[in-house]
Symmetry: C2
Subunit: 339 residues, 2 copies
């Protein structure tokens, strides 16, 4: 029994009302430049229009064995770093004729596996997985995945291509900049155990300091997950007698918390202490003092990931491009060390 009377019209309905075969209807609807006689084409188009035909993408994908969808896995969106990355991925995908199917892990490894399973079941054409915390740890290998994939983040993994920013160098540059301003006593606000990026930034900072051959102090303030932790810790350090004159924060979030704590403790920034972050949120330019930060190119990473994935989909080789470099954005929260 025909189903043309109920629900969405199918290509069969279009074919029937246009008086052509399903094959022909399919060709004019889906293959822009397949040779079809002009009058025939018009009849089909008109039939489709009048019926309000919307081709079923599921059926199409099933028949063609491809979906033109790329699965994108990120920890969260509330962090502007990921938000910017995802927006860039979405736009780049669109430009390549692909649709983004986004999945959130909340930073949880089990959930990451679950969402990847889901993406695989939906037969996405490829995958972009962003590291969050230890997210790439134990990620299944290229073979287990069985489809093109690119990673964004810090850790190399199983031979999957990866886009990353040189966090070590960024940490190095941050410390070098502050050093040049005369600072010799540093503190690093971070959460080392969870985020590789933070670890590498700290390492770069330490390497720079050790390499100067000049005496310095460097303290790690660990276990800080956001503004609130950072605020509490710096506040406490101020009470106890903060030694550092230069605070390097793992992200702008941490830096913003520190800035608030210093203000509340009556320490002048950058008069008494300088503060630097990483990421460069929009907000960072609009706090007072404004925040000096290492700008990480989240959007650019997203774009490159799509580009690299697209090359894989086309069967081209994906040349491993060099790491991205962070840029120092100098603002009001840093200044010469006192004395």
């Amino acid at each position: 029994m025909s189903r043309s009377t109920s629900g969405t019209p199918s290509i069969r309905d279009v074919a029937r009302t246009a008086g052509v075969s399903v094959a022909t209807a399919s060709r004019v609807m889906a293959k822009a430049n397949y040779p079809v006689a002009e009058p025939t084409r018009q009849k089909v188009l008109e039939a489709a229009r009048s019926l309000g035909f919307v081709a079923n993408a599921l059926a199409r994908s099933l028949a063609r064995a491809r979906t033109d969808i790329i699965g994108v896995v990120v920890p969260v969106l509330i962090n502007p770093y990921y938000a910017a990355m995802v927006e860039a991925i979405d736009q780049a995908a669109r430009e390549h004729g692909l649709t983004m199917l986004l999945s959130l892990t909340g930073g949880d490894e089990r959930r990451r596996e679950a969402v990847i399973d889901d993406l695989l079941a939906r037969r996405v054409d490829g995958l972009i997985v962003c590291a969050g915390a230890f997210d790439h740890q134990k990620l299944r290998s290229r073979e287990e995945l069985g489809m093109p994939a690119v990673l964004i983040g810090q850790q190399a993994n199983n031979g999957l291509p990866i886009i990353r920013t040189d966090n070590r160098r960024a940490g190095h540059d941050a410390a070098a900049y502050l050093w040049g301003l005369g600072h010799r006593r540093f503190a690093y606000l971070t959460s080392l155990k969870t985020w590789h990026d933070f670890h590498d930034r700290g390492r770069g900072m330490m390497e720079f300091l050790a390499g100067t051959g000049v005496p310095y102090e460097a303290e790690i303030m660990d276990g800080l997950f956001g503004e609130a932790d950072s605020y509490a810790r710096v506040r406490q350090e101020c009470d106890w007698g903060l030694r550092a004159t230069a605070l390097i924060a793992s992200t702008d979030r941490h830096a913003l918390g520190a800035l608030a704590a210093l203000a509340d403790a009556g320490r002048s920034v950058p008069g008494e202490v300088s503060v630097m972050g990483f990421d460069d949120y929009v907000t960072s330019g609009f706090v007072r003092p404004s925040l000096t930060t290492m700008q990480m190119l989240a959007a650019e990473m997203g774009r490159r990931a799509v580009e690299m994935l697209k090359r894989q989909l086309l069967g081209k080789s994906a040349p491993q491009r060099p790491m991205l470099q962070a840029t120092l954005v100098e603002r009001g929260s840093t200044g010469p060390a006192a004395g």
Copy 2:
């Protein structure tokens, strides 16, 4: 010819290696409590495991005529308001056994239509569309959509159910609070032409002021799209001689820009001028002075939208719940009017 040797194994392969029919294989894989003899079930499970079978969701959706996917349309993610909303939708959807398919419009009406077409073609089970600027304007009607949908945002539209926050009341409350502090000269930082929410907040504010029966001043500073615009405008007003002692900003973004401008112009906050925002970003508690704001429950709106959509999918009636109310979060940027 069998295709079991290449690519992903299908249910046919599972059936064959388990020595059962495709129907039985399908039942054990997809229908948890369909009665199947235990030994048979085990054979199928084992076959699936050994083959690494992952059921094709496209085929399943096609056969069942439902996808368990809900399409979600938002303007952007970089704004924490939408980021929070989307995260809440994603989680709520997951809890209801649904997958979120997110599409970004960038606030562009044409692109919104395009992404909705795409979602329709993918046969999502339902739609959640968030207003951004004039986004619900000219949105196709319930009939044209031909599927369950719920709107989030300000404007009612074509009889589609809608989740919203009482922006007028929020604006009213903001003004009332400042009025109670003794302020009589107000300014509203906004972008009226594009965002209905902003319009309603301003209207609520004006209605309150007009209702007091006491002389007051109120100026609209229009055409402001973010921190930078807001900063520039307030900076300029300070040069020209700012009259208002109470600045109400359409969003925390606008408020943050204003705060920076006042700081740079040497005006004390809240000593000389009080500033209030809407939204309550995480950041807003960590600027100094910290920002008093009307907290909009973005996550709650997202959750309710999913819930309401789910009811529609189940064919239940969706009782129109009352509007959400914003909550005033009192912080350091507001204080008694001088004099």
